[in-house]
Assembly symmetry: C2
Homo-oligomer: 195 residues x 2
């Protein structure tokens, strides 16, 4: 028989394991949904990436649709991407996105793109527009702020697609800082409203 | 009994019909492959778009993989996109791509993206790189020509994704010429090597 303290510790450990496992599955799901169309993403592949069984994924999340819905929030990523004064935001956006690529091999903007044609994708598209595009637009002054915010997002999307998915020669091979130097000034000119 | 002339005319007509039907199926396939991941594209949907039976699509093309391979050439589109002196190419690229969107609801760069994770997608990615990215890069002078060409392509890709797939509010709603005015100068500065 275990003491109440031991039983409590065991429950705590289970909770911690469950939490870590959920986080690992979510991370794997975000990566898969960044690189492939929805129908090409298999639960068993996500499970394998996270080093758990497919049954455990179903136990924790219910279904692929439900896992996708949970993986589709943009809030944390948008907060990090936008966490910079607006006069240096162009550079920060590119550097943060490239750093996210390096760390996770995933891309939140591509996730929105690859899943947008699904019924459940509408939620994600809304999250993306509200949590990122609108939040960026709110920071900009001058005419056409919303359009300029969307052009910045479109450019980041294209950059992620070229680097992570199409892996075109130079964009895939370049050091992040070289890409920052080449692209940030143009993004900043949309942000400032000078382009 | 038909005369030899009548029989010959009937064969000509059959050939013409077959040619038109093939073209309609290819157009429908290009559109579907521009907007959805490969696994989400169904032969029966392509057939319905082209107003023919799925059996006829199989008869003409053999299989979805074979149809995809045929839909994956980039040559004609790249020739039109690049058919402009280099000092006005930025404007021409954006205008031609947006015109292509209007006419076909499809996008050759998105086709490369959405299919690139498939085994057959490797062919398409190679076509895209050789027929478009390398052809553009060959036109540019100055340092980092290939990287600058890839950045132009990445930007066009992001613009197409925002306009056709994510349909973000302003980019989807704007008149093409307004988008040309906002984006072409930045593309031109990569083309010229001033950015």
């Amino acid at each position: 028989m275990s003491t109440p303290e031991q039983a409590g510790a065991a429950v705590d450990e289970q909770r911690r394991d469950a939490c870590l496992t959920r986080a690992a599955v979510l991370k794997a799901a975000r990566r898969r949904f960044s690189l492939h169309g929805y129908a090409d993403v298999k639960l068993r592949d996500i499970a394998a990436d996270a080093d758990v069984s497919a049954a455990l994924v179903v136990k924790y999340f219910g279904s692929k649709e439900a896992l996708f819905a949970e993986a589709s929030s943009f809030e944390g990523e948008a907060a990090v991407l936008l966490n910079c004064p607006v006069d240096r935001l162009g550079e920060h956006l590119v550097r943060t996105l490239l750093d996210y690529h390096e760390r996770t091999q995933a891309d939140p903007l591509l996730r929105a793109l690859f899943t947008s044609s699904r019924p459940a994708g509408a939620t994600f598209r809304e999250n993306f527009e509200r949590q990122f595009v609108a939040a960026l637009s709110d920071r900009l002054s001058g005419p056409d702020a919303r359009l300029r915010a969307e052009l910045v997002c479109a450019h980041l999307l294209g950059l992620g697609a070229a680097r992570l998915v199409l892996r075109t020669g130079e964009i895939a091979a370049q050091e992040p800082e070289h890409l920052v130097a080449r692209t940030a000034p143009l993004l900043q000119s949309w942000i400032d409203g000078t382009a």
